[in-house]
Amino acid sequence: MPEISVKELANRIPDGAKVAIPPSRSGVALAATRALIGRKARNLHLVAIPTSGIQADMLIGAGCVAVMECAGVTLDEHGQAGRFVEAVKAGSITLRDSTCPALVSGLQAGEKGIPFMPMRGLIGSDLLKYRPDYRVIDNPMSDGPDPIVLLPAITPDIALFHAPLADRHGNVWIGTMRELMTMAHAARQTFVTVEEITDADLMWDELRAPATIPALYVTAIAQAPHGTWPLGLQGCHEPDNTELARYARASKNADDFASWIARTANGKNG
């Protein structure tokens, strides 16, 4: 099975890659994010499925991001994502604002190998005005006029996330974080960090198989216990709200952010 270190995993995500990342509740690969910052990744195109938080903010603050495609970047109850807000104001990242279902539908089009997916809504929103890649057509199934938006397929170069469990064949169990399945299906390469690696075959485990990403879709796996810290992981770890609050304060300016990054470079037990 393609088991590598977190550092090697970050090395295999090239500068300029279009990287799909999950929302803060769903297996955010923060250990790998620290490694990406450590290797000074540059010009990443992040595609949040459909929102991000501390992960995008850290990467933006560390200068790794050229394009941010998302429906929102927020530190949730801890407030605004300071590095994201600062970068927007400075014009140092290219924004591709969207709405949650458009990002999910675009990714599903990528998964299905179709060029586009229609979606209701969006017409009359300024989001549409700034997304020339979103097209409006007249619904061919309708008798009367019925404008509808077509979203182009999103095909990430890389899907990057953290899951509770993998096996030695490269199968990855994701529980109810089903967006991770769509990400792995849609992306050209999928890199996963996991809490644990089991010797059992997950695809032969009647209870886990239905929520397991088959190895076929998985490029490489790195073991990273507490790999979402300071975020939590469903069924494994609660979020470290003290540290998240510290991050929210630190993200308000570049110096405090740099100190926070330096202090937490080795993760929870660093």
Binding site: D97, V104, Q108, G124, D146
Partner: protein, 236 residues
């Protein structure tokens, strides 16, 4: 029993959910969330509630798109939205102030608004801060428009705007807000002074009704406990 301002808001929103089969509540919405739970309780469970990112209060298990698929199918009767800015045509702005993309104030982003606002029949706008900063004549960025031309498929849209001072209902045909009730302790001239958009007055503007003691007991007991799952900080 003395009703706190937030309890009045919860009760006011809950009353707007009567008859709704399924209410969904987004992230960071403890007051609408409590309102949905109160209505569920008052309805004897007829009203179902989904609170995003909650462990106990949701049944989503098919990925980030499932809520939106449900909305598009008409399975969700009511939802809540807010805005850094809300204008007199019920356009909402969750993106920022100034010129896009380099806003001088930037918020998180539009989240699901640019779809849910069109598709959920009863969208309740909630913004506790009622000032000329939040309630503006025209938003700087339209995350989602309040109304759409007739050829646009739009089974949903704004139903009401609840603030810390009053309740506006939304007249979709006229694309205007109508002031219908003023919270106890607030006045019409104060509302005019603090509202950046023009609005109509209902024929019969009332004082926003207060919850009775039984409802307050429910709110402070079981509802407060339930809402602590998605919003522990709010419950404290």
């Amino acid at each position: 029993m003395n009703c706190k301002p937030q309890e009045l808001l919860i009760f006011t929103i809950a009353r707007m959910l009567e008859g709704i089969e399924h209410v969904a509540v987004g992230v960071s919405s403890p007051i609408p969330g409590s309102a949905a739970l109160l209505q569920r309780s008052l309805s004897g469970g007829t009203t179902q509630v989904t609170v995003l990112n909650s462990r106990n209060l949701q049944t989503l298990n098919d990925g980030a798109g499932e809520l939106f698929d449900r909305a598009a199918q008409g399975r969700i009767g009511a939802f809540f939205l807010s805005g850094g800015q809300i204008d007199g045509k019920a356009n909402i702005n969750l993106v920022g102030i100034g010129d896009y993309p380099r806003h001088h104030v930037r918020w998180s982003g539009s989240f699901g608004s640019a779809m849910l606002y069109y598709l959920v029949p009863r969208v309740i706008l909630f913004r506790e801060e009622h000032t000329r900063r939040t309630l503006v004549d025209q938003v700087d960025f339209i995350s989602a428009p309040g109304t759409s031309p007739p050829e646009i498929y739009r089974p949903g849209g704004p139903y009401a705007l609840v603030t810390g001072r009053c309740v506006f209902m939304f007249d979709r045909a006229k694309a205007r807000f109508v002031l219908t009730s003023i919270h106890p302790g607030h006045r019409l001239d104060e509302i005019r002074e603090n509202t950046g958009f023009a609005f109509d007055l209902a024929n019969n503007i009332i004082e926003t009704p207060l919850p009775d003691d039984a409802t307050l007991t429910l709110l402070r007991g079981p509802i407060a406990q339930e809402i602590a799952d998605p919003y522990p900080a709010f419950a404290q």
